[in-house]
């Protein structure tokens, strides 16, 4: 009798409980779907802007450049060079010749120069990928009606040329070479500072440090530094590297001052600032890698009479290295994507020449994206989208190599 009552009480609200369970299950599933949809929307949004129709007008009509009845497209290289010589100022022509002599340039290259310097196409309207695909007819009609002189092309803003061209103010000929090189230079100094110190600190904390108050403070401090907002590191970099250490970071003490910069807002300052930023991440990752090396290995090494450093150098480090490198790559990809600290340190807004030394002015890929995103015209949005794709491809390949490294060399004990 009692037993039956209990079962009935269970059964009373069992349906309701199960219903509630199903509803919440669906809600949990839905939140996961929302997260994935957000990622998909983000990707599609970038891709949508990186391809599509663009309408542009020539500032100088190519028909006026016809020589002896030969239209521009069919002219020989010599004719094109003569054209450049007559249309450009002497200084501009000589500058081009100095960069790479006209004798060495190919016809296509010269033709490109004619387009860039003389015809100078100007973007009048841009369409995203989606309207370009679904409303191609309307797009053509609009262009024919509103911009009768304009040419309409379906283009990909992301091309190999986009990666190899320097930054310019003309959307159609702008590229990210300057920014990519700036990023690479910066990252080089970031690694130079953060890798040795980070790995050293991890070895110290895992292998040498005894459990006393000083070492506990060091450990807590590292954990806290990892949570400091990146912009605070930017402010620190501005105060220390750009200002206090200006003679060093501007190259003054080496007598290598870059005439275009002549202050501390250089590649070197940027790299060191990012180095401080990723240092705690590298230390924490390296500590985990070192901790994963089994104690038996160390004991075996001590057993045959090796000193502490010999043990660390020949047994612990080689075994921990894949983990350390994986952690470092992840930290570096964080540094490559950082924007805010570099704005504070003083990234240049528009430079079209490549960084040539640690003491050059700099811009980086995320800074370039920030610049282009902040401009209201949609052609710059498209450029930003294309450079986001460059950045994401770069980061994706870095992460893929980190995963490969982890799978290839990871050992289980």
């Amino acid at each position: 009798m009692t037993k039956k009552l209990v079962v009935e009480e269970f059964a009373d609200n069992l349906d309701a409980r199960n219903r509630r369970g199903t509803i919440w299950h669906l809600l949990f599933q839905a939140s996961t779907v929302v997260g994935i949809l957000a990622l998909i929307a983000l990707m599609l949004n970038v891709i949508n802007a990186a391809f599509g129709y663009v309408a542009y007008e020539a500032r100088v009509d190519p028909d006026t450049l016809t020589v002896d009845g030969t239209p521009l497209e069919d002219q020989s290289k010599d004719q094109l060079v003569t054209l450049l010589q007559s249309e450009l100022s002497r200084g501009a022509y000589n500058k081009l010749d100095n960069e790479k002599s006209f004798a060495e340039r190919s016809r296509d290259d010269v033709f490109q120069l004619v387009v860039e310097r003389i015809i100078r196409p100007k973007v009048v309207a841009v369409w995203d990928l989606w309207p370009s695909l679904t409303q191609a007819g309307e797009v053509r009609a609009t262009v024919a009606q509103e911009y009768p002189k304009a040419e309409l092309d379906f283009i990909s803003w992301l091309t190999t040329d986009f990666v190899t061209r320097p930054q310019t103010s003309e959307p159609l000929t702008a590229g990210v070479r300057t920014a990519v090189l700036g990023s690479l230079w910066t990252i080089f100094f970031t690694i130079l500072l953060a890798f040795p110190i980070g790995v050293g600190a991890a070895i110290y904390l895992e292998e040498y440090a005894s459990d006393n108050w000083l070492n506990r403070i060091i450990q807590t401090n590292i954990n806290n530094l990892a949570g400091v907002p990146s912009i605070v590191y930017g402010i620190l970099g501005l105060a220390i590297f750009v200002r206090a250490l200006e003679p060093l970071t501007s190259g003054e003490v080496f007598g290598l001052v870059d005439p275009t910069t002549a202050n501390g807002r250089t590649v070197l300052s940027a790299g060191l600032t990012l180095g401080l930023l990723v240092l705690p991440i590298i230390i924490i990752n390296a500590q985990e890698a070192i901790r994963a090396v089994p104690h038996s290995l160390r004991n075996a090494s001590f057993g045959v009479g090796a000193t502490k450093w010999q043990t660390v150098w020949s047994h612990v480090l080689p075994n921990a290295m894949p983990g350390i490198l994986t952690g470092t790559i992840l930290a570096v990809s964080r540094a490559i994507g950082e924007t805010a600290p570099l704005v504070v340190v003083g990234a240049s807004t528009a430079i079209s020449f490549d960084p040539e030394s640690p003491f050059s002015k700099f811009t980086t890929l995320p800074i370039q994206i920030y610049q282009w995103t902040s401009r209201p015209q949609s052609e710059f949005r498209s450029l930003a989208a294309a450079s986001i794709l460059v950045l994401l491809i770069l980061l994706l390949s870095l992460n893929a190599s980190a995963i490969l490294l982890r799978n290839r060399f990871s050992r289980r004990y």
Partner: protein, 314 residues
């Protein structure tokens, strides 16, 4: 017998002792390693000293009155008004919107991953979250400006929603913080031992009851820590608000109009050519110091919660 062997062994090997020999190389290496370990202390001291020094200069400037800074609702450097409130309210607003998105969604995803999802689903979803976490914040900024803002303007009308607004920045910031909260919460949930779940099932609990009445309470300290770290991350987040939240401090609680956060203000001020020792220059140090201590306190609280309230099982 045994004593004599020991003695003779001692006599046989007088040439080396088992004492630690001083080795120069080892000492030098150890010194270098200690320096590396100690380097991070210099970084912290550097932050506190440099930011403190310049912030002090800021508060010593004749235009700045500390009382006004704390009470005034106007931040207008050109007429000498430095009330922190407009910057603070917009920071709180973006953070609040972000957490309103990230906490429920993050918890939902974490509970789904840890309690409901099968192994293959978990193995595919976790890398997706990692990808989401690895995307640079400037990309999220682009997303906020070119996707979220037009979407909001479509929904609420172009007269209501301005091109730059804190709602769009906050929503996208929520998406940014989602993977952080999810992975920390998921770690906390999976640390709850299986036996607790089995016991609850044995009592006749449904899956939902196990998840919400057994596992979540047992992992509460980890979840609280995740939320606090998320808040600290949202306060310090810069590029999304710099791109999408608008320029110019604005004392408002309307999420659909532009307002500048602390971080957004620092980026805009330092984006131009900032001359040393100007009041703008010093003001970013004061704001930076404020950010540093706010996030530091939040992080310390989160670590303390984990240490203090962690349920230890076996």
């Amino acid at each position: 017998m045994a004593e004599t062997t020991l003695k003779s062994a001692e006599q046989k090997t007088p040439s080396f002792s088992l004492r630690r020999k001083p080795r120069l190389g080892e000492t030098v290496v150890q010194g270098l390693l200690f320096f590396s370990g100690f380097f991070s202390i210099f970084v912290t001291l550097g932050i506190v000293y440099e930011l403190g020094k310049e912030a002090l200069l800021f508060f010593q400037m004749p235009e700045v009155v500390i009382l006004d800074t704390l009470t005034s609702t106007e931040w207008k450097p050109h007429i000498g008004k430095f009330g922190i409130w407009p910057l603070l309210t917009s920071t709180l607003m973006t953070t609040g919107i972000a957490m309103a998105i990230a906490i429920p969604l993050g918890m939902g995803v974490a509970i789904f991953l840890s309690e409901y999802a099968s192994q293959p689903i978990r193995n595919t979803l976790k890398p997706v979250l990692e990808v989401l976490a690895g995307i640079p914040t400037i990309v999220y900024g682009y997303f906020a400006l070119t996707f979220m803002t037009p979407l909001l303007r479509e929904i609420f009308g172009k007269d209501v929603v301005q091109i730059y607004n804190t709602a769009s920045a906050g929503l996208v910031m929520g998406i940014l913080i989602l993977p952080l909260i999810t992975s920390m919460t998921e770690d906390a949930l999976s640390a709850v031992p299986r036996s607790l779940r089995e016991a609850a099932y044995g009592m006749g609990a449904t899956k939902l009851e196990v998840a919400t009445q057994i596992v979540v309470p047992a992992a509460l300290s980890g979840i609280a820590a995740a939320i606090i770290v998320g808040i600290s991350r949202a306060i310090g987040e810069t590029m999304i608000v710099a791109v999408a939240a608008g320029a110019g401090p604005n004392f408002t609680f309307n999420p659909f109009i532009g307002a500048e956060t602390i971080t957004g203000h620092i980026v805009r001020i330092s984006g131009g050519d900032l001359s040393y020792d100007s009041i703008d220059y010093n003001s970013i140090f004061a704001l930076g110091l404020f950010l540093f201590f706010t996030t530091l306190v939040l992080n310390i609280i989160s670590q303390a919660i984990v240490r203090r309230f962690r349920e230890v099982y076996e």
